[in-house]
């Protein structure tokens, strides 16, 4: 069976074609490039953005990823998954149905904002109707849904590779991804379409090159700290650091900025981080060896201690003074930079205190024990240097 073997073991010896959504995003884009590189063909469904056509967006990403020469192996179809026939004309939709291809549904709204619940629900849940109908109409041989390890919910310390619960969630993103998993499973079961759930944890740039196209999550904290640091460095440069001293901030002789920043968290947390190169390799292996109904955690065996990451930030940014306080904050009065940082990290706060561990037996089996790079300082520095060099994504393919 193309796109997976439904449990009959790995087989990959010919060119295959996939339908892919989310190819303009971080995970989907990298997956697209990797699939092309290994010789597959793709039909990419997506939308234009800010006046840029889907075709241009895809071409932009492929150029960035060094796969521009394989552009002719991608067919782009502008689609709206909330609309009947994915928003396509009858003729085009019929043409799309002519070939039964496995579908990789990667499109997602990764924002956490409760205020954007409607848009996030549309993107993550309501749009499934369109892509699942396409799967049914085209008799898709496999449906791969790229979800999130955090769809497991907050109520457990160990997350097995099994269907999502309906317990508590840290935010609307987790909640809608869990709902989407249930909808996908239910629809695929009903239509007898083999299905997998691929659940990455927090994905950052390429551990080998540092390259990335998205600079949120891990990056956002570093960028926030850099912003706060630069304010004080500028004060040191132009004002001899007079205002900085009012906040207890000073510049050491070796150029290190003493920047006291207390971060209050309910408990000491760990971040489960995987680099995009691992996500891609693991996903390709899973696609090749996918077993129907299986859930795959594309996560790290070793979560990173938040305090280690804070130390990386301090080294990278040449600052010192980050302190974690665990337990109730007891209404501690925050200094202006602490209040600003607190606001910056607000959305990510549940993950900073996260202690969940993820089963990955299915993934280990599918990937043949593919090693997950740990977040060492070298990886971290490589990725952050790249981020700074590209000004945190200005001009990156959108």
């Amino acid at each position: 069976m193309s796109g997976g073997d439904s449990g009959k073991g790995p087989a990959r010896n010919r060119e295959r074609a996939f339908v892919l959504t989310g190819a303009t995003g971080f995970l989907g884009g990298h997956l697209m490039a990797a699939l092309l590189e290994r010789g597959d063909r793709l039909v990419v469904l997506g939308r234009p953005s800010k006046g840029v056509s889907l075709e241009k967006r895809i071409s932009g990403f492929l150029e960035w990823s060094g796969q521009g020469h394989r552009r002719d192996r991608v067919e782009t179809l502008e689609a709206d998954l909330l609309e009947p026939r994915c928003g396509m004309g009858a003729d085009r939709y019929e043409t799309l149905l002519a070939e039964a291809r496995p579908i990789i549904h990667c499109a997602s709204d990764t924002r956490f904002s409760e205020f954007k619940r409607r848009e996030i629900t549309d993107a993550n849940v309501n749009s499934l109707k369109g892509i699942l109908k396409l799967a049914e109409d085209s008799r898709a041989p496999f449906f791969h849904y790229v979800s999130s390890a955090y769809a497991a919910g907050t109520g457990r310390s160990f997350c097995p590779e099994s269907r999502a619960g309906s317990g508590g969630f840290a935010n609307v993103y987790e909640e809608t991804k869990a709902q989407a998993e249930r909808d996908v499973m239910e629809a695929c079961t009903r239509c007898s379409i083999p299905v997998t759930l691929i659940r990455p944890s927090i994905v950052y740039g390429d551990s080998r090159t540092g390259r990335s196209t998205r600079f949120n999550a891990l990056y956002f904290h570093v960028k926030s700290l850099q912003f706060i640091r630069d304010i004080y460095l500028e004060d040191a440069r132009t004002n001899a650091g007079r205002r900085s001293r009012e906040h207890g901030v000073s510049l050491d002789n070796d150029g290190t900025l003493h920047l006291p920043l207390r971060i209050f968290l309910p408990r000491r947390g760990r971040l489960n981080l995987v680099p995009i190169d691992y996500f891609v390799s693991a996903s390709l292996a899973i696609l090749d060896r996918a077993r129907a109904g299986f859930v795959y955690h594309v996560t790290n065996h070793h979560s990173s201690d938040l305090e280690d990451i804070a130390a990386y930030c301090e080294s990278f940014l040449k600052i010192k003074g980050i302190e974690f306080h665990y337990g109730p904050s007891n209404g501690a009065a925050l200094s202006p930079p602490e209040a600003l940082l607190d606001k910056f990290i607000e959305d990510y706060r549940p993950y900073l205190a996260d202690t969940r561990r993820f089963d990955r037996a299915h993934t280990d089996q599918a990937t043949g024990g593919l090693r997950v790079p740990e977040l060492t300082y070298e990886n971290f520095e490589r990725c952050m240097k790249y981020a700074v060099n590209v000004n945190w994504g200005k001009g990156a393919p959108s």
Partner: protein, 610 residues
């Protein structure tokens, strides 16, 4: 056209050089000789007329040129508003006249005719002129709808009786006349081929505090009376600083951001003295006076000349302050401003478009353009609502839950604009405000961090200002009032910057404060401007009468020296007028500036609801 002539012909005629709004003094010859011709504004017109050969060198031309001592004060004033440097025009004028005289040229002397003799017998020898040099400075306005008209006589009466005698004389002799204030009104109403009456000598200001009024003569500017009122702890509701209050009220009523509290039209005064067109005298409080409180939706003749106005004094409190509340959409801004108006929250309220906010704050055109982008693109603030009020107002707005730029943050931004435009961190603020727009404004200590990041200082703000003017402007911007939202809204010295890049033509409409209707009308105005290829933008929207109505200004910008752009602005003005008339006929609730002209004394209720 050489640069000097271009500058001369680009004078906006806002008369900001005739008031001491920067506390730098005004051109010394102006207050002494009073004629517009002896102010930089007049000299700009005079030089253009001479350089283009429209008039010969006259006796008064020589006096005007020689009266300028090239002190440079007009550079401060004009640069502040338009970024132009009039001093070089003044120098060119002096040079032109000096060269003419030194090369054996003569200064033409205008013979005194019988009418001038009679006029002078009323106002005195020195206060009436038929000199072509003087006349040239009263011959044009920069509006798109008017053609130049050179007056035969320019007359400056000093008293109400003199005005009366003049109007009787003109009435008897059939002499057309026009009355003018400090600058020129850009609809041509201050131009006449007969006589132009300049009221600049009638500058009396008399406070009657027990009756909460200040009586101002016809030559008193908004800035001057506001300054005197503030010194005594009061406020008056007046408009543009250089506008003469009497003329302003008669012509269009007062448009200001304080309209929610102080009203408009007849709300602003207690009484007014008039001289009718036939020279007869009347006051509004006379039982038998013409009913200027009425309003008719049609073009109106001038009711005469208002020679004195008893303007209402308003109390102030020491806790007054200002805030700017940002909004992502016009609709949300209007909802908020209406909510405030209905609940009587705020002394001053106004929805400001991005053009206003950036142009007002920035000391140069270039910076204004960049800051506009920062506001709209990086900070995602296309609309700001200005709120002026006391501590109770501020508490109410805070309770309504809207994040706002308070006075401290406003100062940081106003003096830190150069850092703001280059700040890479602004996008982070946008990202952390995805949930509640602008929620970063609520972060404790944000103003302090903004001060650190923006490093606000007069020196920084002025770094793009012409180097020789920088010391003056640095000391100017160091003054607390220059970043005080309350002061700036009372004295309105920034609003003239709206015409800095180009002259502008206004569409001003009174209409119900209905979001859909306002949206439609703005869209219509925009479409008209786009059709004629004109830069255009929303000016402001301010509620009136507890939010039952509002006033909306939408502006079309044009190059006053470009005949093609002027022609397009004329066509756009006609089209916009047709749009307003159509809405007005359909709804019956819309009043526009064309019909308000000369009916500014109307009762607010008559103006808005009859």
């Amino acid at each position: 056209m050489d640069d000097v002539l271009t500058t001369a012909k680009s004078c906006r005629h806002y008369a900001m050089c005739k008031i001491d709004f920067l506390d730098s003094g005004v051109c010394a010859s102006g207050p002494e000789r009073v004629y517009d011709s002896f102010y930089p504004q007049g000299r700009m017109m005079l030089y253009a007329a001479l350089a283009e050969g429209r008039i010969p060198v006259t006796k008064k031309t020589v006096e005007i040129a020689e009266s300028c001592d090239l002190c440079g004060k007009c550079d401060y004033q004009c640069y502040f508003v338009t970024e132009m440097r009039p001093t070089r025009v003044m120098a060119a004028l002096k040079d032109f006249v000096a060269r003419h005289m030194s090369s054996g040229g003569v200064a033409e002397r205008a013979p005194e005719d019988a009418l001038l003799k009679d006029i002078r017998s009323i106002v005195g020898e020195e206060w009436a002129e038929n000199d072509r040099g003087i006349a040239a400075t009263y011959a044009r306005d920069p509006g798109p709808l008017t053609r130049p008209r050179t007056p035969a006589y320019v007359v400056l009466p000093g008293t109400r009786d003199q005005v009366s005698s003049l109007l009787r004389l003109f009435h008897e002799r059939g002499i057309p006349w026009a009355v003018r204030g400090n600058g020129t009104q850009n609809m041509g109403f201050v131009l006449s081929e007969g006589a132009v009456i300049d009221l600049g000598r009638m500058k009396d200001i008399v406070f009657d505090e027990k009756n909460w009024v200040v009586r101002v003569g016809a030559g008193v500017s908004a800035f001057d009376v506001q300054r005197e009122a503030v010194r005594r702890g009061y406020r008056v509701n007046v408009a543009e600083p250089a506008a003469l209050v009497c003329a302003n009220v008669v012509c269009s009523g007062i448009f200001s951001t304080f309209m929610p509290a102080y009203g408009t039209a007849a709300d602003n005064f207690v009484d007014a003295d008039f001289v009718a067109s036939d020279g007869s005298l009347f006051s509004l409080s006379d039982k038998n006076a013409a009913n200027l409180f009425a309003f008719r939706q049609a073009d109106q003749e001038t009711p005469g000349i208002c020679t004195r106005l008893s303007l209402k004094l308003h109390p102030t409190t020491p806790d007054e302050t200002g805030i700017l509340v940002p909004f992502e959409s016009q609709e949300k801004a209007l909802r908020f401003v209406k909510e405030c108006a209905v609940r009587r929250i705020g002394l001053a309220l106004s929805v400001l478009g991005p053009e206003y906010a950036s142009v007002f704050l920035a000391p140069t055109k270039q910076m204004a353009a960049e800051v506009k982008d920062v506001f709209t693109e990086k900070l995602g603030i296309p609309y700001l609502v200005l709120v002026i009020g006391d501590a109770y107002t501020m508490r109410s707005v805070a309770e309504m839950g809207h994040p706002a730029f308070n006075q401290r943050l406003f100062r940081a931004i106003a003096l830190g604009l150069p850092s703001l435009r280059s700040a890479g961190w602004l996008e982070l603020l946008g990202q952390i405000s995805a949930d509640v727009p602008y929620s970063y404004l609520k972060i404790k200590g944000f103003a302090e961090m903004a001060e650190l990041a923006l490093r606000p200082s007069p020196g920084q703000l002025c770094r793009d200002v012409d180097p020789d003017l920088r010391p003056f402007f640095e000391s100017l911007y160091a003054r607390p009032e220059m970043t005080d939202l309350v002061w700036l809204n009372m004295f309105r010295i920034l609003s003239a910057r709206m015409g800095r890049e180009k002259q502008f033509s206004v569409n001003i409409v009174y209409l119900p404060l209905e979001i859909k209707l306002i949206g439609e009308l703005i869209e219509e105005f925009r479409r008209v401007a786009e059709r004629h290829g004109l830069k255009n933008d929303l000016g402001f929207i301010t509620p009136i009468d507890q939010g039952k109505r509002c006033i909306l200004e939408y502006d079309y910008f044009f190059d006053q020296n470009d005949p093609d752009e002027i022609a397009r602005t004329q066509r756009a003005a006609m089209d916009a007028g047709a749009v307003i008339e159509a809405y007005s006929a359909r709804l019956g609730t819309i009043r526009w500036i064309r019909h308000v002209v000369n009916q500014g004394m109307s009762r607010r209720e008559n103006l808005l609801y009859t």
